[in-house]
């Protein structure tokens, strides 16, 4: 019987050949800090990072190809599986694109419901990021506090949408069902809980001297670089680039609610952290404005049983928790998209990782990756 023998250098020949004393290590595909199957090949000089090369594709499902054989109703659910933490917002973007093609007017009630769900999703996503980021930096406890609030949102989602993570609640023309009768009360309860607990976040993490030292001045990304690398969302806003789709190209009812676009100019990990933490409060502000003002009416526009987009190209973009999510549909007039492209925020944000982490310590890499808030299925699609 032949037994497999591991080669002396651990099996990664070819990666180990840096000659100037540099150490090449593989972070991932299974590593506690990558939160998924991201594989980074890191060249280290001592503890200092010289180069990072991402190797993608471990969970590439070719969603774009799959969507080419799905109808315009069917393809929306797949996008929940890309950025699973912003599932609602992804679905919203797809629904918007189909509606653009059909020139469909969405009832006001559905628009408000979509925004409410989107902002709840954003809070849930930022909560998870906050916990995971603290965990990357070695503090385990915040993770559980973050999950307490996130759990409440998941319960609300479960009650209204029927699922906790991949809801598939958006359909072309509106939402799948009307709100649950308990929805408003539970959201108000959540806001109260959230306002009580948010100060703990500052006590535990934001103000902590160790945390500040770990993140300030780490992974600096200038505004010009942020634009050049195609960064969007909190990553770009942490560098002082105004890029919030909700402000620049308002969709649904975002032009009717008051909220601030959070912009920090330092461009380091701490700035990106602050942007997200402040966005939590802005999302709560949007929800507070809308929760008592949900217009009555239909929750879904009347649509044909089989949707056919006219020949042409349609692009819609929404602001997910990670940045700009674009849907580009090329239609040949059939019932399925001829070609569909998802512009996922994580993919572009990842491309800046190498630039940001060169010259910093391996411990800084965790702070940088934490504030990039990478969701691997979003990158691999």
């Amino acid at each position: 019987m032949e037994t497999y023998k591991v080669p002396p250098n651990g099996g990664d020949e070819g990666l180990d050949t840096a000659d100037d004393g540099a150490l090449v290590i593989n972070v991932g595909p299974q590593h506690p800090a990558t939160h998924g199957v991201l594989h980074l090949v890191i060249t280290l000089q001592g503890e200092t990072i010289q180069k990072i090369e991402p190797h993608l594709g471990y969970i590439h499902r070719s969603i774009e190809k799959m969507c080419e054989s799905l109808s315009y109703r069917q393809f929306i659910y797949v996008t929940s599986r890309m950025d699973y933490l912003s599932a609602h917002i992804n679905n919203h973007g797809c629904a918007l694109c189909v509606e653009k093609g059909l020139q469909l007017e969405v009832p006001p009630r559905a628009q408000v419901i979509r925004v409410l769900m989107g902002e709840l999703t954003r809070i849930a996503s930022h909560e998870l990021w906050w916990g995971a980021m603290a965990m990357d930096l070695g503090a385990f406890t915040p993770f559980f506090y973050a999950f307490r609030e996130r759990e409440t949102i998941n319960d609300i989602m479960e009650e209204t949408c029927g699922a906790r993570l991949t809801m598939n609640y958006m359909v072309p023309g509106g939402v799948m069902y009307d709100l649950h009768p308990n929805f408003q009360q539970r959201v108000k309860d959540f806001i109260q809980l959230f306002n009580n607990k948010i100060d703990e976040y500052d006590d535990l993490v934001t103000g902590n001297i160790i945390f500040q030292n770990r993140t300030k001045g780490v992974g600096v990304l200038s505004a010009a670089d942020a634009i050049s690398y195609g960064c969007t969302g909190p990553v770009a806003r942490g560098s002082g680039v105004a890029c919030d789709i909700r402000k620049l190209y308002p969709y649904a009812v975002y032009d009717k609610v008051a909220f601030d676009e959070i912009i920090e100019t330092a461009g380091d990990s701490y700035a990106r952290y602050l942007v997200r933490v402040k966005e939590l409060r802005q999302s709560v502000r949007i929800i507070e404005q809308l929760i008592d003002n949900i217009p009555e009416g239909d929750f879904q526009a009347k649509t044909k049983a089989v949707l056919k987009l006219p020949k042409g190209e349609f692009y819609s973009r929404v602001e997910t928790a990670r940045g700009e999510f674009g849907v580009y549909i090329v239609s040949e007039g059939g019932t399925t998209p001829y070609r569909i492209k998802f512009r996922s925020p994580g993919f572009s944000n990842l491309s800046a990782l190498d630039h940001m982490s060169r010259g910093s310590k391996i411990g800084d890499l965790m702070a940088i990756m934490g504030t990039l808030d990478l969701v691997i299925p979003d990158i691999d699609r």
Partner: protein, 159 residues
């Protein structure tokens, strides 16, 4: 001297920020009431699953073992994952005409993503989402289900 003052205030702020964090975790340590863990298998009896929760597709049968599925395959067409396969047969109606009817409603739970599109598509509300969620089995074949009960037939009046 200014340097020393800065040094001391730096140390003071650092220590106080650390103590603030310890106060937060410490206060949870002495308040076990804040614990939010659910003892899952033990609390099965009084667990509340929302009525909209999507666990699996089931077909509703009434007390006469009759269902509302006409075998129109709308759900099969709506399903993005080929989860549903409808096998039809031809029944003879009392008038002697041949009529298409449901033979077997095959449901692949292992392929299902609980997207609810089949339930939305069904013109006769024959299928719905059940709130069960404990689907794990040792053999994958057990996830292949037939949704119509043996011997069941179409409810009168459903077209």
């Amino acid at each position: 001297m200014a340097f020393l003052k800065e040094y001391i205030s730096e140390v003071y702020h650092a220590v106080s920020s650390l103590l603030k964090g310890m106060r937060t975790t410490g206060s949870y340590f002495v308040r076990p009431k804040e614990i939010i863990t659910q003892q899952y298998p033990d609390n099965r009896a009084d667990m509340k699953i929302p009525e909209r929760f999507r666990g699996e597709v089931v077909m509703t049968h009434d007390e006469n073992n009759e269902h509302a599925c006409t075998g129109c395959t709308a759900c099969e067409l709506a399903c993005p994952n080929a989860t549903i396969k409808i096998v039809t047969k031809f029944d003879t109606t009392p008038e002697g005409k041949k009529k298409k009817a449901l033979d077997t409603f095959v449901y692949h739970l292992e392929l299902c993503t609980m997207c609810n599109l089949c339930v939305e598509a069904c013109p006769t509300s024959a299928i719905k989402m059940a709130q069960t969620f404990e689907h794990s089995v040792y053999d994958r074949n057990q996830l292949l289900k037939k949704l119509n009960n043996p011997g069941s037939k179409l409810r009168a009046g459903v077209e």
